[in-house]
């Protein structure tokens, strides 16, 4: 459980605060998504939360205790996966994964099993400097969780991964959360956030523009309707049916019984569209 209250952070000499009055809490075992365009302040927020930047205004509590009161035991409990892979190029994948383990006084996962789980088994003894971008990304992700942290910070964990590997990573994140790990996920990827997060916060110019579960946001900001494409007499026609009014639903049922249906689309909003509505700008 990590709680952030009224957090404001300004870089030295900056005209305005980069993070402004941000409050949220991520309960144990939940996945909390921080979404926002480039420059919104996501990384800055994360850096304050992992004590890389000083806490200026506001409060952060981990397990009920203020962050400032926690020393090394905080870092023993935290795992961080960085957006840009930072590995020792001359050490093998396995060595990179295990080289800092001796600093933790706790049980850890089996490195070989982790490497194999993300398809790095064959490359385990190859220098990390020779890894592809996606391989490095996977290794950094594994390094963040090998020491079994209770609080996991992930920055774009699936960027640059092929869909199949991304799916494996997502499943590992879900498994960790299910076993009680609190996950703070920073991303631009709305689909990823939608699939993983229990709660998402849209960060816009440093403050939270909206915060709720992805489903609640999509319902609140989307249109409850269905678009039906039919081919009638060789011509393609489109019709939109609302899901609220009973007569619209009856018309939809009728349309579905008629022949020539080519496609059906739910017009429920995507998180991306919600973001656009909430902030008036697109993600980049």
């Amino acid at each position: 459980m990590i709680e952030v209250e009224g957090l404001t952070f300004s870089y030295h000499g900056a005209a305005r605060a980069t993070v402004q009055d941000v409050s949220f809490s991520a309960p144990k075992g939940s996945i909390f998504g921080v979404l926002g365009p480039s420059g919104a302040g996501k990384s800055t927020l994360q850096k304050v939360m992992i004590k890389l930047l000083p806490l200026q205004v506001g409060a952060i509590r981990y397990g009920g205790r203020p962050l400032a009161a926690l020393g090394r035991e905080f870092f023993a409990d935290v795992g961080v996966s960085f957006e840009q892979p930072n590995l020792f190029p001359r050490l093998s994948g396995r060595e990179n994964l295990t080289c800092l383990l001796g600093l933790y006084d706790r049980e850890h996962d089996d490195p070989a099993a982790l490497l194999a789980a993300l398809g790095l088994g064959a490359a385990a003894d190859q220098p990390a400097g020779e890894y592809s971008k996606g391989m490095k990304q996977r290794l950094v992700f594994l390094r963040s969780l090998i020491h079994r942290p209770s609080l996991l910070f992930l920055d774009e964990p699936t960027s640059g991964l092929d869909p199949a590997t991304a799916e494996l990573v997502k499943q590992m994140i879900r498994d960790r959360a299910a076993s009680g790990v609190t996950v703070i996920l920073t991303t631009h990827d709305m689909t990823l956030a939608d699939q993983l997060c229990d709660t998402v916060a849209f960060l816009h110019d440093g403050s939270i523009a909206a915060m709720a579960s992805p489903r609640a946001l999509k319902l609140r900001f989307g249109e409850r309707a269905v678009r039906v494409e039919r081919r009638i007499d060789g011509r393609l026609t489109q019709e939109v049916f609302g899901l609220e009014a009973p007569e619209e639903q009856a018309r939809l049922a009728e349309a579905l019984r008629s022949p020539g249906i080519e496609t059906l689309h739910s017009l429920e909003a995507t998180l991306e569209q919600v973001f656009l509505k909430v902030t008036g700008r697109a993600l980049t």
Partner: protein
């Protein structure tokens, strides 16, 4: 727990230094320098008989030769160069390596991964010092094997290793402290070059002691100057036992200052600007 953590970090730093060829460079330098001294520097005393002739001629004229340091014995050029070869690595190279190790990890951003572990600045700096210390001791041993000191006792060799250890630790710490504010190797190069030039001002003073007088006496406060004469004292019959306490005093103070600086800058500066 902290000891176990230090061992594991040390093991990591040793592998990094080994694969980064720092051991190879150090030992190759030692072999080349000591080899050159062995081959080119005369191992016999030159000019001693000339001095005797001069004294005799002087006495014949009715003059009297006063020996300023009667206990001092002449050293061969070879023996006199060995301390210089040892100091070169320990003080100048060790100084560079400390900074280079730190800046490489800054550039790779692996420091950020370390920063979010329970490691801490003290452990980080200690491990770097120990790796450089090991390299310095191996280098010194190699030099002493290639150019064996005539008649130096086991105690004297142990003393040399002690002087080297103290000098190496101080210089690694100095290198880390100096490198801490810099982003990369290229910007660190100039201050490091200036610092090693200052440190090597002790070389002319060692070769010709008069260099360190007449307004240049600050040279005598350099750890290099003290180390040169301390090593010279230990390896040969230098007859200036007084320099050993001087060396211990200056390096002890230097060690405390550089350790405090290196730790403080690493904790407050390096560890804060990563990620």
């Amino acid at each position: 727990m902290r000891a176990a953590a230090l061992w594991s970090l040390l093991w990591l730093d040793l592998r990094l230094a080994w694969r980064g060829r720092l051991f190879a460079v150090t030992l190759a330098l030692g072999a080349v320098m000591a080899g050159a001294v062995r081959i080119f520097a005369p191992a016999e005393l030159g000019g001693a008989h000339e001095l005797e002739e001069l004294a005799a001629a002087w006495a014949a004229e009715g003059g009297r030769l006063t020996t300023l340091r009667p206990q001092a014995q002449a050293m061969t050029l070879q023996a006199r160069l060995v301390p210089a070869v040892i100091c070169l690595d320990v003080l100048v190279v060790g100084f560079f390596f400390g900074g280079v190790m730190l800046l490489q990890e800054k550039a790779l951003r692996t420091l950020a991964a370390y920063r979010v572990s329970p490691g801490g600045a003290g452990l980080y700096v200690t491990s770097k010092v120990l790796v450089n210390l090991l390299m310095a001791l191996l280098y010194t041993a190699l030099v002493l094997v290639i150019v064996p000191p005539a008649g130096a006792s086991i105690g004297a060799i142990a003393g040399v290793m002690g002087v080297v250890s103290l000098g190496s630790a101080t210089c690694t710490l100095g290198g880390i402290a100096l490198a801490a504010p810099f982003r990369g190797l290229s910007s660190f190069f100039y201050p490091a070059a200036v610092a090693s030039m200052v440190l090597s001002a002790a070389v002319p003073a060692y070769v010709a002691p008069a260099f360190a007088t007449e307004g240049m006496s600050w040279i005598r406060a350099l750890p290099t100057y003290q180390a040169f004469f301390a090593l010279c004292e230990l390896l040969g019959p230098g007859g200036r036992a007084g320099v050993l306490p001087g060396f211990l005093w200056i390096s002890g103070v230097g060690l405390v200052i550089t350790a405090a600086l290196a730790w403080w800058l690493t904790a407050r500066r390096v560890m804060q600007e990563v990620a």
